[in-house]
């Protein structure tokens, strides 16, 4: 059973990493949203497996809640925003795609460098997966920095949070049940507020492009 869980962990950890890389490559907001939903689904399964391994009802509940908030609720909410605003294409990036991919490669190399070696040395069995989770966190952060589009930045922050969850699961940093529920509640509120903010940006500037917010300086 443990072996199967470890093997599934590998698959799901890789899925989370790959989705964060692909979020940089896709151009449509709906594709980026789908990638986020896939990533969140992988995180929910990871939590469910954690529940199986530790036979913890609390973790099952957290997994179910994660699925409901990050996959079902976020999916419906984001689809509505994209459909209402009719914004399929994301505004451009600061760096072109080859340079973006070069930076992604650099971030992955950084995680495998001597800087993170002490962290990875603590978990020799899962080192590869932990480095992928860390790389996923940095790549998501880079998505927030590199994209002009407010919607892409919103997805980037949520993807960053998914990376943190995967990292904490892999290194065994699960929190108490109350704290986990609290974090998920925060995510729910974040989705509400960020979506409202993104909608406001759109209604005021007619675009998700944050470059246009420079007019605020005047």
């Amino acid at each position: 059973m443990d072996l199967i869980i470890l093997q599934l962990l590998s698959l799901l950890g890789t899925t989370v990493f790959l989705t964060s890389v692909l979020m940089h490559i896709v151009r449509r907001n709906s594709s980026r949203m789908t990638l986020y939903l896939v990533q969140s689904f992988a995180v929910a399964i990871l939590l469910f497996m954690g529940g199986l391994q530790e036979k913890s009802l609390g973790l099952f509940f957290i997994a179910a809640l994660t699925f409901f908030i990050k996959v079902v609720f976020a999916g419906i909410f984001f689809s509505k925003i994209i459909d209402q605003k009719q914004v399929q294409q994301t505004p451009a990036t600061y760096l072109n795609l080859p340079t973006t991919l070069g930076v992604i490669l650099g971030l992955t190399m950084l995680v495998r460098s001597s800087i993170f070696a002490p962290v990875l040395a603590l978990f020799p069995v899962d080192a590869q997966l932990i480095s992928l989770a860390l790389a996923g966190i940095f790549i998501s952060l880079f998505l927030v920095i590199n994209r002009h589009g407010a919607f892409a930045q919103l997805i980037g922050i949520l993807s960053l949070e998914n990376g943190l969850v995967v990292f904490s699961i892999l290194v065994g940093l699960e929190q108490a049940f109350g704290i986990e529920v609290g974090i998920l509640f925060n995510i729910l509120v974040w989705i509400f507020i960020a979506s409202a903010l993104v909608s406001l940006v759109y209604s005021h500037f007619g675009s998700f492009d944050t470059i246009k917010m420079r007019r605020l300086k005047d």
Binding site: I25, T108, D126
Partner: protein, 309 residues
């Protein structure tokens, strides 16, 4: 036993490849709410072309006449080195992954030469586009396979597959990333959507079809058959090298039967994935193709880093 495996290997790819194309076309038709042609239509198309006369341009040189035979032979030679039914028989060194890649490049090189040989403008731009794509694909293809070479410490494709099958799934994270890189290269090398549309003859978009526009009759049949074989070779390599479960030890007839059935199921699955992508993704503009191919290359390098350090 070895002779039997040799015969099966050399016959498997050319006999199954038209069926594989038929499956892809059938799934695409299903996705478009059409009934579609029979699964065996590609066999009938090949038979029809083999019975047709040829029209050869008077300006065509030996390259134009020789290329279809070379392309078909290359696919047969490569199929002998594929990782199925036997583990590690390195016949004339064709099991080496570098030999595999450079035999493919040799085929693309001659096809491009044949495209410009007759002086047709269509062939010229087709060859030019093909060379651009091939030059950018080879890096991704090489780096997609290098992580497995480093993990298994061999360049023999069959041995790579059988050694990889013994690794625990926990170490498969870089292999999955490398497979995505390989899959992008698969689509590019086989002129599939989003790189090229095999069903179109629009001068603005065609790549592979532009190069073979001057061919007819038996030589066209051979080129078409070779391109079917090439796709199946990539599919077999994808399913058996990156997910090497169900390979046989080659010791029992029952093992061979089981491995063949398992391989066939895996082929159908990956063909379905190719058809699904072709039905849901639009063909990319030519100037966006390098981005996708560079993605393949970077994913290959990431997989390599995860394996090495």
């Amino acid at each position: 036993m070895e002779i039997l495996i040799f015969i099966i290997k050399i016959l498997f790819v050319p006999l199954i490849s038209p069926f594989c194309i038929g499956v892809i076309r059938k799934i695409k038709a299903f996705m478009q709410n059409r009934e579609g042609a029979s699964l065996f239509q590609p066999y009938r198309d090949l038979l029809k072309l083999f019975h047709k006369d040829e029209v050869i341009s008077p300006t065509a040189s030996w390259i134009f006449l020789f290329t279809p035979y070379l392309l078909f032979t290359i696919t047969l030679v490569i199929s002998l080195g594929l990782p199925f039914l036997s583990a590690g028989n390195n016949l004339f060194g064709i099991n080496d992954f570098l030999v595999f890649i450079y035999l493919l490049v040799l085929g693309s090189f001659f096809l491009s030469l044949a495209g410009i040989d007759t002086g047709s403008s269509f062939g010229g731009f087709g060859s030019s586009r093909e060379m651009t794509i091939v030059a950018l694909t080879e890096g991704g293809l090489l780096f997609a396979m290098l992580p497995i070479v480093l993990l298994t410490k061999t360049t023999n494709i069959s041995l790579m597959a059988s050694l990889l099958a013994t690794l625990p799934l926990l170490q498969f994270a870089p292999i999955i990333i490398a497979f995505i890189a390989f899959f992008i290269a698969l689509l590019a090398e086989n002129s599939r959507i989003p790189f090229d549309n095999p069903a179109t003859h629009l001068e603005l978009t065609m790549v592979h079809e532009a190069m073979i526009l001057e061919y007819s009759g038996k030589r066209l049949a051979l080129i078409e058959w070779a391109s079917f074989n090439k796709l199946l070779i990539f599919i077999i390599l994808g399913v058996n090298l990156f997910f090497p479960w169900g390979l046989n030890s080659g010791s029992l007839y029952l093992d061979i039967l089981f491995a063949s059935i398992f391989l066939f199921i895996k082929i159908l699955f990956l063909s379905g994935v190719v058809a699904l992508i072709e039905s849901t993704v639009a063909k990319l503009r030519f100037f966006r193709l390098p981005d996708l191919l560079f993605t393949s290359f970077i994913l290959g390098v990431i997989a390599l880093f995860l394996v090495t350090i």
